[in-house]
Amino acid sequence: MDTFVQLIVNALQSGAIYVIFSLGLTLLFGVMKIVNFAHGEFYTAGAFLTYLFIDKWGLFSSINIYVAYFLAFVFAILIVGIVGYLVEMTIFSRFHGDMVSGLIVAIGLSMVMQTIYLLMFTANPKNITSIFKGTSHLFGGSISNERIAIFILALLFTVGMTLIIKKTKFGKAMRAISQDKEAAELQGIDYKSITRWGFVVGIVLAASAGVLVSPASVVDPYIGEAYLMKAFIIIILGGMGSIPGCILAGFLLGIIESFGIFYFDIAFATALSFILVMLMLLIRPQGLMGHVSR
């Protein structure tokens, strides 16, 4: 029983991170119809900026560690947001709705960003000072406080994001565009500016996942890529462009991985999730919660 609880707890906390990461990706797909291969690199950007602020430069070392971490978070997100805005303006804005070109240019961007990280930080994994120390016992499973904090923050993010998308004018405009671009434009929605800000929100979500996870794991130039693969699985399982589907599939992947790794091994868990993806695409290409779109 204890193992079972432990596995569920592990699944929930990795699932929560998968959810915020893939929420950004599914948002970008919905709004821009682009599969952003460079999404993982923005995650890495968040993690590396945290490393720079907290450990390398020690910018906020004189302040309380929680405040320092919060400041690092805010600055990291600001920087990634500005970079994202510029990237969308100069590169992606020309390829909206064009699957092949958008994909290729995103791949190019991912290669460039990965190499820049490699040149700046080398391939050696970096550790970031952890913020919440110690472990807690929950329902017979043990989990580090760090991971509990990550789980709660990730959950808050997901709820906040869902509210923004469901309730605000900006969120409604994004949903309108992802459902039918022409009809949305006829209603006077500014397609260009909404997609640009949608892109910024999407990659800021990726970067926030990076900032959140970084104290609990190591940072190297290739961490984003592993997340990207998982996010692909999630957005297919959940349905491309669907937010509830993304949340459901994120936790589902967490459970598959956690149990698969424990009872078999990591290769089996990965293969299982990919085979699940292939089955899903065949039986229900629109995913668990996706709707058929043109």
Binding site: I91, S101, V277
Partner: protein, 315 residues
């Protein structure tokens, strides 16, 4: 192809074959063989793109060919020439299974499905049947099967490229382009898009499997990491930068980028940086690739010469 063009390509082919037989320096010969194999990969990648799909599992079929050939010659003492054809056939059989399932979806979904398939194949190479396939380290100690092997590679490459060229100009190529332009319309006039898409995948995978066999035997070492979706992406960049609308575009892309990468190799990771920047810049400023840009330049020349003659006529 006009008569003059025929002769021009014949001369190019003879020069390429002569290169294959005359290169003695091991480094240059290896580079030459790499160019040949990448050309096959890029041209066949574009062949599948004719019907509008991007197949990120392309490198996996290349890997299936390489692994089949290496395992057969090392563990089962099969002569190379048999293993060479068997590699192509096995890659083709796997591609039928994959295609029959995967082409039920298209566009983004096919792309991501092929990506998932590429990962499954990589995991298979790493974990299945490790005493033959060698697990994570792969297979080492593959030998060169014959004297003048590079000459063989040159001849096979040219044969494959010519086959692809004539396939593209044949009815099959036209049907594939029709499917890309409008799948619904082509289905309405009785073209089975599923059948032709699978056919294009099988042809491409057969040829790529055979080139994988050649790769294994001139590289001497293969490992699962050689055949991930990263290779498919690099091939995609060859196609895009070279020019996806022209048969010769991918070959131009391969020759140019491989030589640049070879030059940059001394600078370490700048190689990937150069590929990435080249992709972004090509997409922004040369969306038709090098071949397309060259052609439009020639068109401008044609136009200007026409307008000149018109002006002369006016005078």
């Amino acid at each position: 192809m006009s008569q003059g063009n025929n002769i021009r390509w014949l001369i190019v082919s003879v020069i390429v074959i002569a290169f294959g037989f005359m290169l003695n320096d091991p480094y240059l010969a290896h580079l030459f063989a790499l160019l040949c194999v990448y050309s096959i990969l890029a041209v066949s990648f574009r062949f599948i793109m004719l019907c509008g799909e991007i197949n990120l599992a392309h490198a996996s079929f290349f890997g299936i060919g390489a692994y089949t050939s290496a395992a057969l010659t090392i563990h089962f003492n099969v002569p190379f020439i048999v293993a060479f054809f068997v590699s192509g056939i096995i890659a083709a059989i796997v591609s039928i299974l994959f295609g029959a399932i995967a082409f039920r979806v298209k566009g983004h979904f096919f792309l991501l499905l092929s990506f998932a398939f590429a990962e499954v194949i990589r995991l298979f190479f790493q974990n299945a049947w490790t005493d033959v396939l060698g697990g994570v380290t792969g297979i080492a100690g593959i030998t060169s099967p014959m004297g003048e092997f590079y000459g063989f590679i040159a001849i096979v490459t040219l044969l494959i490229l010519y086959t692809m060229y004539f396939l593209e100009k044949s009815k099959l190529g036209k049907i594939l382009i029709a499917i890309r332009n409008s799948e619904d319309l082509s289905r309405s006039i009785g073209i089975s898009s599923m059948k032709y898409k699978v056919l294009s995948l099988v042809v491409a995978s057969l040829l790529v499997g055979m080139s994988g066999s050649m790769f294994a035997h001139f590289n001497f070492v293969i490992s699962p990491e050689d055949f991930t979706f990263h290779l498919s992406i690099i091939i995609l960049s060859f196609v895009i930068i070279g020019g996806r609308d022209h048969f010769i575009g991918p070959v131009i892309g391969v020759v140019l980028l491989v030589l640049v990468a070879e030059y940059l190799r001394g600078f370490g990771s700048y190689e990937i940086l150069a590929y990435g920047l080249a992709i972004i810049l090509a997409m922004l400023f040369m969306p038709k690739g090098i071949a397309g840009t060259l052609q439009s330049l020639r068109l401008i020349k044609l136009k200007s010469s026409k307008s000149k003659s018109r002006e002369e006529a006016k005078v």
